[in-house]
């Protein structure tokens, strides 16, 4: 899995590519937890994300908490949107 990271002042954009599953979720976790404390807004760009399992979803929740709600998800594919809908994430996340 490749995660592209883009920092712009206090906001950051993470762009994971491919599959996020239990085996490699730690990479995404490390990327989120490794963000500087000055970052207060996070955007996860899911344009290149093909798959996310509950391990990845947990990280999204954790990131949402870490940013105190300033988390934006963008470029969500229909398939991943379905996964969000299954868990009710679509109602709580800021999805663009």
């Amino acid at each position: 899995m490749t995660i592209l990271k883009e920092i712009n002042g206090s906001s950051a954009v993470l762009k994971p590519e491919g599959w996020v599953d239990t085996q490699n979720a730690d990479e995404l976790k490390a990327a989120i937890e490794g963000l500087d404390k000055s970052i207060t807004e996070l955007t996860i760009d899911m344009e290149k994300l093909e798959y996310i399992s509950s391990a990845g979803l947990r990280l999204i929740v954790a990131a949402h908490k870490q940013m105190n709600g300033a988390l934006t998800i963008k470029n969500v594919s229909i398939e991943i949107m379905d996964v969000f809908k299954m868990t009710g994430f679509d109602k709580r996340l800021n999805i663009k």
Partner: protein, 660 residues
């Protein structure tokens, strides 16, 4: 009863005929005896009279020298004549007195001829006649049969009586010598006329015999009358009563007054009548009861055959089931049930102890109970344990039932089964034949803690499970041998379900040809006909297995737009197992057939049913600790099942491959 023209042999007539014959014989004997007696008596009295006469005659003639007359041919006309006539007259008086018919004096000229000296007849007319015809000097030939008598008399013997029937009538003749000076001078003959005496004798004998006969016949008549009145009529009325005996109708009682023996028969008959009426009414009750029982048995049988069809077929995607039942003569307690529910195939085969209505009723109760529990979603073992609890609670007859129950997932070939003391089933297929070795379990209805367990096996394509009752293995041959498991194993084929079953049933019926089937024969075959792609592997219980499984899954479902979602669901489950079960390995089955993918994951870790711990709606903020996985699985999969079997957690998920 013989009726019509046939001649009847009536006892009374027979007795009368025999008695009459006896009477006639008696009369005949009496006639002979009295006749002989009479004749002897007559002869004896004539002989006595003749002896006296001979004494009197000799006495009279002792001073009369007859020799001068003997020498002469006639009496000359002198005083000799007078004297001759005087002697003759005197002798005639004696003759009359003695009752003789003739008296004559003669001597023999030679052996053949005799010469009369004097002849006297007591009858006057006759006397005149013989005086001429048998006068002095007349020589006649002595009849041949008289010659020796006359010779002996002339030598001094008293001869007689000699019965003769000649021109002088029916007479008794005596001959004796006449002495003069102690010398025999001539022979005297006396004829007694016995005609009258004989007639009298005959009359008397006939009279006596007639009287005796008449008296005997009269006595016989009276006897017969008494017999008729006191014996035969009562017997006849008993016979009439017997003939008209109608155990259903009013029975008149016999009241016969006769001799002891007849009264005995009559009262015995009355007793017999009472007994028969009693027995018949008993018999009627018994017959009605029996008919009732037979009807009940018929009902029991029709209940049984209604519940357990002789033949059943069930087939669908991936399986075919064939079942057959050959009930024994008496209603037994075998049953089977096959049905499909929620895509799974259920099999139950059972054998109730005992026979008859009780077994049939117990069977029907047990069958409905087990079927109901399986339909309510219980696993085979849970269904059997639960049924056992109820059967133990309501089992006053102490009956029990052995059961083998199984459920097949036709998507994966996974067979979950539970055995409650039933015969072990047979597995046959291209890989060979063997007996399944289920835990023996215990028959239901005996103990409350049956603890039946679930077991599992994965059928491979074309494999066949054959479950049966002991009517197969205990079928008996003419040589009193059991069919047994070995022959069963040999008979099993690996064809279609029906072919496999028919091969076994055919072998059993050939084996026990000519012997009555003593027990129900029930057989059930299940064939797993999987036509698709099947992947079965045992993977180590570690995270690397996730990728291996997913790769296979994505390969099998490559054409499906839902493949990633399916992968997601499978990941959630397998990760759960890897992280929490503590198992060493994970059994993975992926089976694709058409637009359905079945995934079965099993581990031998601690018992854990993820479905039972489905979390409720959590706050979004709490999802970082997990709890989403199962929720997603439930939404992605068409069905998810969990079962704990043989120390394993088994989760089976079904996915539709088409996008909804």
């Amino acid at each position: 009863m013989i009726r019509g023209t046939e001649r009847k042999n009536h006892a009374l007539r027979r007795i009368a005929a025999i008695a009459l014959l006896l009477i006639l014989a008696t009369a005949l004997t009496l006639t002979v005896v009295t006749g002989v007696y009479y004749s002897n008596f007559t002869k004896d009295s004539y002989t006595a009279s003749a002896r006296n006469f001979s004494v009197a005659l000799n006495d009279t003639l002792k001073n009369t020298d007859l020799s001068e007359y003997i020498a002469k041919d006639s009496v000359e006309e002198d005083d000799n004549v007078l004297y001759y006539n005087a002697v003759r007259e005197y002798l005639r008086g004696l003759c009359d007195l003695a009752g003789a018919k003739y008296t004559y004096l003669f001597n023999t000229v030679n052996e053949n001829d005799m010469r009369f000296i004097m002849t006297i007849a007591s009858d006057d007319e006759e006397d005149k006649k013989v005086k001429q015809e048998r006068r002095l000097g007349v020589v006649v030939t002595i009849p041949e049969n008289d010659r020796s008598n006359i010779k002996r008399a002339s030598e001094g013997e008293f001869i007689g009586p000699q019965p003769v029937n000649n021109q002088y009538g029916n007479v008794l003749i005596y001959y004796f010598p006449i002495y003069y000076d102690d010398e025999i001078v001539c022979v005297a003959g006396i004829d007694y006329d016995v005609s009258a005496v004989s007639r009298t004798a005959v009359r008397n004998v006939v009279g006596i015999v007639l009287v005796v006969t008449v008296v005997l016949i009269a006595v016989l008549g009276v006897l017969l009358l008494v017999l008729r009145k006191k014996v035969f009529e009562p017997i006849k009325s008993i016979s009439v009563q017997m003939n008209s005996f109608d155990p259903e109708g009013e029975q008149e009682r016999l009241s016969i007054r006769s001799y002891h023996e007849i009264n005995e028969i009559s009262s015995s008959f009355n007793k017999l009548t009472d007994d028969i009426i009693g027995y018949i009414s008993n018999l009627k009750v018994m017959t009605e009861e029996r008919a009732h029982t037979a009807a009940e048995l018929g009902i029991a049988r029709s209940i049984q055959t209604g519940m357990v069809p002789r033949e059943s077929r069930l087939s669908g995607e991936g399986y075919e089931v064939y079942a057959c039942a050959k009930p024994a003569k008496e209603v037994g307690g075998d049953f089977y049930s096959i049905f499909e529910m929620n895509g799974e195939v259920f099999l139950v085969i059972a054998d109730v102890s005992g026979k008859g209505v009780a077994a049939a009723l117990f069977m029907s109760m047990a069958m409905n109970m087990i079927k109901g529990k399986l339909r309510s979603g219980l696993s085979p073992a849970d269904a059997l344990n639960s049924a056992n609890d109820e059967l133990c609670a309501e089992n006053p007859e102490g009956m029990f039932v052995t059961v083998f129950a199984a459920v097949l997932d036709p998507h994966t070939g996974q067979l979950i089964f539970a055995n409650a003391g039933h015969t072990r089933p047979l597995i046959s297929g291209s890989e060979g034949k063997r007996f399944l070795e289920p835990a023996p379990g215990i028959a239901l209805g005996l103990f409350e803690d049956a603890d039946i367990i679930n077991e599992k096996m994965d059928l491979s394509e074309g494999q066949c499970l054959t479950a049966y009752t002991d009517g197969i293995t205990e079928a008996v041959s003419g040589g009193r041998e059991f069919f047994g498991e070995q022959r069963l194993l040999e008979a099993a084929q690996s064809g279609s379900a029906e072919d496999t079953a028919e091969a076994i049933v055919g072998a059993v019926s050939r084996f026990s040809k000519g012997c009555e089937q003593s027990d129900d024969i029930t057989l059930l075959t299940l064939r797993f006909n999987f036509e698709g792609e099947l992947y079965r592997e045992t993977l180590p219980c570690q995270m690397s297995s996730l990728g291996i499984m997913r790769d296979k899954l994505l390969e099998l479902a490559a054409d499906s737009p839902k493949k990633r979602k399916i992968a997601l669901a499978c990941e959630e489950i397998i990760v759960n197992i890897i992280e929490y079960s503590g198992s060493e390995s994970i059994g993975v089955t992926l089976a694709r057939k058409g637009q359905t993918l079945a995934v079965c994951l099993e581990d031998s870790g601690k018992a854990f049913d993820p479905l039972s711990e489905q979390p409720g709606e959590k706050d979004f903020e709490d999802y970082d600790t997990g709890g989403m996985g199962i929720r997603m699985v439930m939404q992605i999969a068409e069905s998810v099942r969990y079962i704990r079997v043989s120390g394993k957690n088994v989760i089976t998920m079904l996915f539709g491959l088409n996008d909804k």
